[in-house]
Symmetry: C2
């Protein structure tokens, strides 16, 4: 048990109050590693949850990580492996003694083993599968037969179920006589004779009802069956949208194959968000803070390369106006402002659209209204900044024409930003491409090109 | 019960397969509204979950929304109000007949009422509080006494608890004899005589154990107590990190005050992510797709205004080099490339840092290593693009000096991008400011200023 109240006093910032791994704890653990004091290390690690130990390992450099793992040795728990970031999982597995690894994975539930091994290389996969007992290995291999990222991979196979004609007393007696109930379960799934799930009964309802009440009278209003091939992203969406706690998973014939619980769905939701936010920024979604310098550089390179191409495209637009620019250097000074404002406004519209697509709030029913809204918003804000920039252009360069040119370019670019920021992600989504992935480059390319073209082209027309 | 298999065939895209509100359903509902066919409307709305109805209302324009609500009338459920986006909640509440509103809110649990009214204006709050029964109103008012966004507001007050000395049989008998158990509960909270929670027993364990087993022997390993004043963001983090299903909430004296379940935590996690992603893009985090044009424009304006100021700052840097620019127009053509690459690289580093701060992966223990990594990554990628841009500069403008200048400026700006992209959010976090909120502007200001200064300054030095 972790006492929150004691810990809060140790911490300075609000954010740390729900977190055990403070700087002092890390320093003490590293000191124990330095002095090779196994007893002290075990004692310091004792209060830590597997998730905290995984975080700790992620924060260390690989030298300290290996020393800690070797000193901790047999205390190493299978759950730590599950919690560990993929980027260092292979390294940690390679550091563990084979016997410690075998003991660690044997403690895990089959769905956790699946999650653990699906991204490992062949030899490490084999090593872990070999360490499992036969029945567990079969369960893992069956789960691995479902596509990656599907409900079939996510589900746990142990389901507590009951025939649809049972009553409360029969269910309770059955539970009491079961040798092995899953660690965590919240519902009993009612099945028909063909093993099709037909309803959920919560344990709370079961306990609060008389023995002779038929289970079928106690089923939850909200009941959804998840196909094993369904994408885990859609599963997480359904849990969040419909406040599900657990839902049965069925195979192609509609037969009960497993169950997914809300904690799994929450983990997927968290991953999807992480993916969206990183993709929007042009960072590879499997990158992590524990990646090496070389990996990080390599992962960031492609996006920067795409950006370079689009930046060159914008430069090509500018180069069409070299004559104008050489006559009026003030244009070179002001032109990044138009592009920058367009890029920002476009990113605003884009982010709203990407989020709304992810939460299924942006649909065929309202897409035209949203596009119109974004363009009108661009017009309104464009007018505001047109006036201010017009005045700045006038005062700074003492030229009403420059003021007029930048004002008009601003209005045009902000309207285009609203249009491109909404239409591009919608089209990408229709085409089955994740709109978070590449929309950003397209949108800023559009606003850069339109911004430079409108500003310099207009200047060329009225000033030359 | 919703049959997934039937629905999948109606839908074209993968994303819609977990979703009932397809275009056809919306059209049919709107047709029923147009023809004022109440029977048909009720029938069409029947299979929809409250969350889907809320989504539907959000997608309609306000005219159709009001017509639908008036036709749906008495069927309007309290849960729809809970699911509704804040931006149109007030409007919908104002459209409902007082009697329908009163019936709707009376169905809700007290924590849902709290969530519903906390953002409403005074008169609407009063109207809803007046509609409640006395005991519910007191419960809501007590919850509202906790700070906004705290665990106290989030928790439900109905807790199933048992004295620490009870055994399984006593607990089961107690449950069976309770008149009113909460809708959803998963644990029994054990309390000491001073009402301090000391452990959780899952219902599954309770059902699987013999009557004479003491409850204290069945408590979960993982048990965390949440102070009612704790920020809901930290609560969500703890649920996600430690795979909690439910956790007791305590008041200042450590006495059991309520319980928070994982579905509440999941909703908070979802909101926090939404907030982060929108803030990173400079969009106000309470904005929504259903906002009016005027509201949207107003909400986006401040961020664009900040961006305008920073863009002007960058222009001021450029204006220092007017003489150089007027001699070498090629510089004006190429200069946005350096700034754009810097801005992109900075956003990459920034986003990784902001996420790592949010997930508490970036801490005092590894901050220096991460900063060093980002700067070295900037150096490596800077070198790659320095070579390519140097060649492009040489070929395009037939000038080795321009190639050299842009290459050096690129390396400098990408290193600065890595540095600023990490240091700025870390410093903001230390200062207690949400790093997602304003880091973006600071980072791109730094990369713009450094990019223009390095490129034009260097050019001035070597070419003039």
């Amino acid at each position: 048990m972790v006492e929150d109240t004691d810990r809060v006093e140790d911490e300075q910032t609000r954010d740390d109050s729900s977190y055990v791994l403070n700087r002092r704890a890390v320093a003490a653990i590293l000191y124990a590693v330095d002095t090779e004091d196994q007893t002290q290390l075990t004692e310091l690690m004792e209060p830590l949850h597997a998730a905290d130990i995984a975080d700790l390992l992620e924060q260390l450099n690989s030298y300290d990580r290996a020393r800690l793992i070797r000193l901790y040795d047999r205390e190493f728990d299978g759950d730590i492996l599950s919690e560990l970031d993929e980027s260092i999982r292979e390294e940690v597995i390679a550091t563990l003694r084979p016997q410690v690894l075998a003991d660690a994975v044997r403690e895990l539930e089959s769905d956790d083993v699946v999650d653990l091994i699906e991204d490992l290389e062949e030899p490490q996969q084999e090593a872990i599968l070999d360490a499992l007992e036969d029945s567990d290995r079969v369960a893992v291999e069956q789960a691995m037969a479902w596509p990656e990222g599907s409900a079939g991979r996510l589900m746990q196979r142990e389901v507590v179920m009951a025939p649809e004609h049972w009553n409360v007393g029969q269910a309770i007696d059955h539970l009491r006589n079961s040798d092995e109930l899953p660690e965590q379960f919240y519902h009993i799934v009612l099945v028909d004779p063909r093993m099709h799930p037909i309803g959920n009964v919560t344990l709370g309802k079961l306990m609060g009802s008389r023995r002779e009440v038929p289970l079928i009278d106690l089923t939850e209003d909200m009941f959804r069956v998840i196909p094993a091939t369904q994408d885990e992203e859609d599963v997480a969406y359904a849990f969040n949208q419909y406040h599900l706690i657990s839902a049965p998973v069925v195979d192609e014939e509609g037969r009960l194959a497993g169950v997914i619980t809300i904690d799994d769905a929450m983990a997927v939701l968290d991953e999807e968000h992480e993916e969206d936010i990183l993709r929007l920024a042009g960072v590879s979604d499997d990158s992590s803070l524990s990646d090496s310098v070389a990996d990080t550089a390599k992962r960031r390179l492609p996006w920067l390369a795409v950006n370079l191409l689009t930046a060159i495209l914008a430069s090509l637009v500018i180069s069409q106006f070299e004559e104008t620019l050489s006559k009026f250097v003030a244009l070179a000074v002001l032109m990044p402002i138009v592009a920058s404002m367009g890029g920002n406004a476009g990113t605003q519209s884009l982010t709203v659209a990407v989020r709304a697509l992810a939460t299924k709030d942006l649909t065929g029913a309202n897409v035209w209204r949203v596009i119109r809204r974004e363009v009108v918003v661009g017009l309104l804000n464009g007018l505001v900044f047109a006036v201010s920039m017009g005045i700045i252009g006038l005062v700074w360069f003492n030229s009403p024409i420059i003021g007029y040119v930048i004002a008009v370019a601003m209005v045009i670019n902000l309207m285009v930003a609203g249009l491109a920021g909404t239409v591009i992600p919608v089209v990408m989504d229709k085409m089955g491409v994740d709109p978070a992935l590449a929309s950003g480059t397209f949108v800023t390319t559009v606003t850069d090109v339109v911004g430079f073209f409108a500003f310099l082209g207009l200047a060329g027309m009225v000033m030359m």
